[in-house]
């Protein structure tokens, strides 16, 4: 028997859509502001201009900050995938109290507030001469990204039978071959999902960046932050508009890709 939606349910759904408006409408404001003809933050009054988008191309600091962000996010993602996947693989196979403790330790950077480890990095990086270097920021961001890789690879391995490894060994594979040819392919979807998190985290990271860099490494969030602090420039609205569209496009592409894969998977099962 199907019950008609109750009044409280309809109210909840209404509330949920209101909440979605609250979540998304503030983002909508950056689009009109980004085409304002004025030099200051304002809504366009009748006329519009692309001057703030032009600024992004003409002002080389915007381009170079995007480059720096790409370098740091790529480097830290690779390092996070390496460390996170190693941990998740080992915990999957070993699965003792000790390995669980190691896994919890690897998750720490997710729980520790940014400001706390920012102070620690600053102290030690100053001694090591890593302040304001790509390597210094990449290592710090990789530490923050690793927990997300540990989690997503662990999730991918949760349904992989331990006997798979033994079967590969019985068929003559060395432990390394079994790992490389059997286990890691099973972990790959988790590695991919984790790397998306690690990349996005580094791309958007500000607090640690504020402490560890000054002029030499100048990322996009830093540039936006400085822009907001000095005088709020509509060029930031143009950057924001581009990033919002980019995020939406990537998300839609991921959904379409997942649908296509699901269709292919069902098609291949059916004769």
């Amino acid at each position: 028997m199907e019950l008609a939606p109750s009044k409280p349910f309809r109210l909840t759904v209404f509330g949920a859509w209101l909440a979605i408006l609250f979540l998304t409408l503030p983002f909508a404001v950056v689009f009109p502001v980004s085409v304002t003809p004025h030099r200051y933050l304002s809504l366009p009054d009748g006329t519009w201009s692309s001057r703030h988008y032009q600024t992004l191309i003409d002002d080389l600091t915007w381009i170079s900050s995007i480059g720096d962000s790409l370098i740091v996010a790529t480097g830290s993602t690779l390092l996070a995938i390496l460390l996170g996947t190693m941990t998740a693989l080992a915990c999957w196979r070993i699965s003792t109290r000790a390995s669980e403790l190691v896994r919890m330790a690897m998750l720490a950077p997710m729980i520790v507030p940014s400001i706390v480890h920012a102070l620690g990095f600053y102290q030690v990086w100053a001694q090591l001469g890593l302040l304001d270097t790509y390597a210094g920021l990449i290592i710090a961001h990789a530490m923050k990204g690793t927990p997300y890789v540990v989690i997503s690879v662990s999730a991918a391995l949760a349904n992989v039978d331990l006997r798979l490894e033994q079967a590969a060994r019985n068929l003559g594979a060395t432990a390394l071959q079994a790992l490389w040819k059997v286990i890691i392919p099973a972990a790959r979807p988790g590695m991919l999902a984790g790397s998306v998190f690690a990349f996005a985290l580094s791309w958007d990271e500000l607090v640690v960046t504020l402490f560890l860099t000054s002029r030499n490494v100048y990322t996009l969030p830093r540039k936006i932050w400085d822009g907001i602090q000095d005088n709020i420039n509509p060029a930031i609205a143009a950057v924001a508009a581009i990033l919002i569209v980019l995020t939406a496009v990537v998300m839609v592409a991921r959904i379409l890709l997942a649908r296509r894969q699901a269709r292919l998977a069902t098609a291949s099962v059916e004769p």
């Binding site: 070993i94 400001i115 706390v116 600053y122 504020l210 709020i232």
Partner: protein
Amino acid sequence: MTADMDAQTRRVYLVLLLAPLVVLAFVYLYPLSRVLWLSVTVPTPGFGNYERLLTSSAIQGVIWTTVRICVLTTMLALVIGYAIAYAAVHLRGWRGELLLFFVLLSFWLSVLIRAFAWLTLLQSRGVINTWLMDFGLIDAPLALIRNEFGVVLGMVHYMIPYAALPLFANMRGIDPRLVPAARGLGAGPVQSFLKVYLPMSLPGLISAGILTFIFSLGFYVTPALLGGGKTLMISEYIAVQINDTLNWGLGSMLATTLLLSIFALLAVMSIFVDLRKVFGVK
């Protein structure tokens, strides 16, 4: 479990386990321990910095502001996130998917862009004040930022996806036939929700609440931009100690206090829920 491994396998997996741990120890745990160490050695050895927690009214004010904002943020984000998750689970077809899409979109969007959008809307010459004045509803701009209102608004906006997504995962695991069964047995919609559904979603609420509260406690960007230096939360206060007054003793003491409070909260929460589930490794 290691008993079933031969020597070769054990070697390979021990390396996989220990190599990342060594890296973590050198470039993460060591720097963290330096913060703890500084808090009891600078400017003089001892617990002098920690005495300030009891004596300084400025510090107590910051801590109180932080706790108040975080409790309010967590409660609002949980209520709103609960409604979204409930609707997303129970709406059929594309409507539920669309709700979830917007939550995820908001989840992935940059924290700086969010704060920037709110600044554009809320500042004294911002969109909302301009509109209200154009329509003649107010004479002078309302103070919507540089106060707790702006900070809580921005933080709730940021935290809703963090509350909604774990709640959604939890609710999808609840048998959808339970509430209709309760209704069939004569319970009203509100009663069957309160007595059947809410208790079953409680673990999800607790997990989502912990995540939201802990992330709120250490929040820096949104309070700094929307609080405008007037409403100070602990993260920003710590940054001010280090950058402006070079007061490493006080800064590291507050950082340590923040860290230990979070671990204490987690320890208390681990009595009620499996933390490994909260953080998604089980």
